[in-house]
């Protein structure tokens, strides 16, 4: 019984982490679909969301702080696209990816200088560090339910948006055939900006909701980005919903490795998954094998 | 004994069958043409012969050795060289360097030899340079040697690509729509050049849309339609083949006097025109 409960504990922890990876992976997919760029600064949006929310929370009630943080970071995402990526359309995709890596470093360092290296966190949304709820036989923090609930809501809302609203369908059109979309009257540059803004905002929301559990610090962006990317390609790049599956899977596998290996090797699991997927099945679980954007021949 | 034997190859993409059981053979010293409407499978066939695609079924033999499914560089080393529909020059290099790349498979020195300047490396480099220059001269573009490849107009890129393919000392040349994008004069020159290449002993298989070019040049023609062979033979025979005519015009013409001049058995304007044999 004890063992089962421990396993469940790990599983839930994996799902919790995994849902954050899922949100980062969705962010990757949104931007990739609309622009073809792998935005390495994705993880920094999560970090910024938490940081900004923590600062705002000193002055306004928590829900307002969170909303504010999401808004600010979404705005940052839009501004980045407008100021930087819109001017760089002639560049090869590889150049752009290298630029986003540089961007991630710059944002990280900026955060260090704005907020210093201390670890911060938002207060628990309900209850405190010690409150716990019984869930399927395991004791978990109510924050976990907040995380799962928020991510589920985000996924649902995104699904509805992409499928049933005009803007969402325009985004999907953009990703599958930009020229045709342009001819149909869709404003491609605005779609790109929207994709950046949306990714940034979603990342910020994830950052806020996970903050009480994993803390927020200036260096958390990079590992999140890589794990989120691993999740995105595990699901299959180009498919935002598959990213959710990818994220959860990465989280669970990571938790499994945590339960077996020393703590320092935590991150290695996600990186190993990344390599494994890239080498063995680069189109991911749900991607189509004939996609020639991955392999040379 | 045929130089190239394509035996019943088939290739599909998803649900679409691009090439459906095509067989052809090319004898040494021949110029063979492959024609057919768009979507007939000509480029897919080419890609299978040159190794860019693997046939689903069927075999390809070259010099009595199977080359099915070999990688493109292996096929190049075996003696088949090709040009592409859109000239694929290395735009960051100049013209001479492009042609020098063609000598790669006939020369040896690799990382160690070149990095450490093994004895003979300088000599090998000189022979590469000279051979490349000679090939450029043979297509009449030696004066362009130092031009950046990206600065050339379309027709000249074509010719440099041809020089590069010739630099590999091929036994057989695959030309993918060499005349497309060229004007009348350039097409005449191209035809002359291909004939001279044949005189050098190199066999040619070419895909072409321009009827005058292909009818005038080829010893033998194969017609593809929807992935199948519908006719094969000498240009004259193929021109008069009713199946070929119907495929290009849509259906048999009925003489009904309603303003139409065409009679059902009048051969198509697929004649040799300016590119016929006598103007060598």
């Amino acid at each position: 019984m004890e063992n089962g409960s421990l396993a469940l504990q790990y599983l839930l922890s994996g799902i919790t982490k995994g849902s954050i990876y899922a949100v980062v992976a969705i962010g990757f997919n949104l931007i990739y679909s609309a622009t073809g760029i792998i935005n390495f600064a994705q993880g920094e949006f999560v970090m910024l969301g938490g940081m900004v929310a923590v600062t705002l929370a000193h002055y306004v009630p928590l829900p307002v702080a969170i909303a504010g943080a999401v808004g600010v970071v979404a705005l940052v995402g839009c501004l980045l696209e407008l100021a930087l990526f819109r001017r760089l359309q002639r560049h090869s995709v590889l150049h752009l990816i290298i630029i986003t890596m540089g961007l991630s470093i710059v944002i990280q360092e900026a955060a260090l200088h704005i907020w210093d290296e201390k670890v911060r966190s938002l207060p628990y949304f309900t209850g405190s560090e010690v409150s716990s709820v019984r869930f399927l036989g395991a004791a978990i923090s109510p924050q976990v339910l907040w995380v799962l609930g928020t991510v589920a809501l985000v996924v649902l809302a995104l699904h509805v948006f992409l499928r049933y609203t005009l803007q969402g369908r325009a985004m999907r059109a953009c990703s599958s055939n930009p020229e045709a979309a342009m001819l149909a009257g869709i404003n491609i540059p605005n779609m790109r900006t929207l994709s950046f803004g949306l990714s940034a905002g979603l990342g910020a929301l994830a950052g806020c909701v996970i903050s009480p559990i994993t803390m927020t610090h200036y260096e958390m962006g990079a590992p999140l980005a890589i794990k989120g990317f691993a999740a995105a390609i595990l699901g299959g790049l180009g498919n935002p919903m598959a990213a959710v599956a990818g994220g959860l899977l990465v989280g669970i596998l990571e938790a499994a490795s945590v339960s077996r290996l020393p703590a320092v090797y935590n991150d290695v699991a996600a990186f190993a998954i990344l390599l494994f997927v890239l080498f063995v099945r680069p189109q991911g679980l749900f991607g189509s094998p004939t996609s020639d954007t991955v392999r040379e021949h | 004994m045929a130089l190239l034997e394509v035996e019943n190859v088939r290739r599909s993409f998803g649900g679409l069958v691009a090439v459906d059981g095509v067989s052809l053979s090319v004898n040494a010293g021949q110029i063979k043409g492959v024609i057919g409407p768009n979507g007939a499978g000509k480029t897919t066939l080419f890609n299978m012969i040159s190794g860019l695609l693997k046939p689903d079924t069927g075999q390809i033999m070259f010099n009595d050795r199977p080359i099915t499914g070999l990688k493109p560089y292996q096929i190049a080393r075996a003696g088949i060289s090709r040009t592409f529909q859109n000239p694929s020059l290395f735009l960051q290099m100049n013209v001479l360097q492009n042609v020098m790349v063609g000598r790669h498979s006939r020369t040896r020195l690799d990382f160690f030899g070149c990095g450490l300047r093994w004895p003979g490396q300088l000599r090998e480099e000189k022979t590469i340079r000279d051979a490349a220059r000679a090939q450029l001269e043979s297509v009449g573009l030696a004066y362009l040697a130092d031009w950046p490849a990206g600065a050339l107009p379309f027709g000249q890129r074509r010719m440099v690509e041809l020089a590069r393919a010739l630099a590999t000392e091929p036994q057989m040349l695959l030309l993918d729509e060499p005349a497309s994008g060229l004007n009348t004069r350039e097409k005449e020159d191209l035809a002359l050049l291909i004939r001279k290449i044949r005189d050098r002993g190199i066999t040619t298989l070419l895909v072409e849309h321009d009827m005058s070019v292909v009818m005038g040049l080829s010893d033998d023609i194969i017609v593809l339609h929807n992935g199948c062979t519908i006719a094969e033979g000498a240009p004259q025979a193929v021109q008069n083949d009713p199946r070929v005519i119907s495929v290009y015009l849509g259906e048999e013409l009925q003489g009904d006097g309603g303003g139409r001049d065409a009679s059902p058995r009048r051969p198509l304007p697929l004649s040799s025109g300016n590119y016929s044999r006598q103007s060598a």
């Binding site: 630029i99 260090l112 392999r295 040379e296 | -």
Partner: protein
């Protein structure tokens, strides 16, 4: 003219190297040689990356890992006490071959460690196999997938080095002994050997530059550029692109590892941060700053920027500077800032690059083919010749 421009940097190099040292001696700032030496070793990594990224067009965001593998391999082998294996047959055999030696460690105890030369060779072998293992699957990937794969590899190495006790975990390894290259020539951090080690580093850099320059201006260099430019066409011309990419990847990895070994013996230790993503991205930034495919540009930029960084000029903004460099250079001048600088200088001095059309003013656009390829091109007189000139691109 071309030959002169190629040889010129090689003749300037010793002048600059010696000059810098003499200037430092004169201004009594010879302690700066330490950072300069370190910067030169880092530059060797970037040179290899220049070949890989600039010429072959393959991105690697994990070269810090190879530097670290080289450094750690030699560090561990020269500091770990193998005495416990005294009884084993292989230990006896290695001792006889003078690969395993007894030496005094920091505390005066006798320890059995590998000799630095043995450690170096082992490190190179290890790097060779690891680079093959990673390169073979990774190089089949394109563009950003390759970038991510190399990044992932670098991170795994970094985490494993952080996590293992044998590699000293977060503290890294210290007390790495000096390496006697030849009688009288040793790679060591002792201040007495400072000038000598500076010249060792520059000498190594020069050797690497000569090697790479030879490669670039040869059949191999053309093949790499062809692969970068249009891989399909390169393949169709008989170049085994997969093998070529793998070879250049392994070569660049070996260069990085070699730099790592020398660096470790010079500084006497190594830390896990050398394998991290920040370092790897920094190498890429330096390659970009130098002009990706410009060996000399890359060397100059790497040495200069790393030196400034090591001397602390960028303060706490160290990483941010390299990130910013990456963004600015790739967005504004993807071929490196030195190219527009060169063009501007040329415009300033009024010299123009030789125009290709100057070779043939009476050009007739007509293809001619001669039965014997070596025959001279004779102008064709033909009433159809219109003598139209080629359309220029941009001379």
């Amino acid at each position: 003219m071309n030959r002169f421009r190629q040889i010129l940097p090689f003749t300037l190099f010793p002048v600059v190297v010696v000059g810098a040292q003499l200037v430092m001696r004169a201004t009594e700032t010879e302690y700066c040689l330490t950072q300069l030496t370190m910067a030169v070793y880092y530059a060797i990594v970037v040179m290899g990356l220049c070949l890989l990224m600039g010429y072959a067009g393959q991105v690697s965001l994990g070269h810090g890992a190879f530097f670290a593998i080289g450094g750690y391999a030699s560090a561990v082998l020269t500091t770990y006490d193998f005495s416990r294996f005294k009884g084993a047959p292989w230990a006896g055999w290695l001792q006889k071959a003078h690969l395993l030696i007894a030496r005094q460690d920091l505390y005066g105890n006798t320890a059995m460690t590998f000799s630095p030369w043995a450690a170096f060779l082992t490190a190179m072998l290890a790097t060779f196999f690891i680079a093959l293992l990673i390169g073979y699957p990774a190089l089949r990937l394109r563009g950003h997938y390759l970038a991510m794969a190399t990044l992932g590899f670098g991170l795994i190495v970094s985490k494993m080095l952080l996590g293992s006790n044998i590699t000293g975990a977060a503290d890294g390894i210290n007390g790495v002994p000096a390496w006697k290259l030849l009688p009288g020539l040793a790679v060591t951090g002792k201040s007495a050997g400072r000038v000598q080690n500076y010249y060792i580093a520059c000498g190594l850099a020069l050797l690497v530059l000569v090697l790479l320059r030879n490669l670039v201006h040869s059949r191999v260099g053309r093949a790499l550029q062809a692969i970068h430019d249009r891989e399909t066409a390169a393949n169709a011309m008989g170049i085994n692109t997969a093998a070529c990419k793998l070879k250049v990847f392994v070569l660049s990895a070996l260069l990085a590892a070699m730099a790592g070994v020398f660096f470790t013996h010079y500084t006497g230790g190594i830390a896990p941060s050398e394998a991290g993503a920040l370092k790897s991205v920094r190498y890429v930034a330096l390659a970009a700053a130098g002009g990706m495919a410009n060996l000399w540009g890359v060397t100059v930029m790497s040495v200069a920027l790393n030196y400034l960084s090591l001397r602390g000029w960028f303060g706490t903004y160290d990483n941010a500077v390299f990130g910013a460099i990456l963004i600015l250079i790739i967005s504004l001048a993807p071929e490196g800032p030195l190219k527009p600088l060169g063009l501007w200088l040329r415009r300033l001095t009024g010299t123009r690059p030789p125009s290709p059309t100057s070779h043939d003013p009476n050009h007739v656009s007509r293809f001619t083919f001669h039965a014997s390829p070596a025959a001279e091109l004779a102008p064709q007189t033909d009433e159809r010749a219109t003598g139209r000139s080629p359309q220029h691109g941009a001379p």
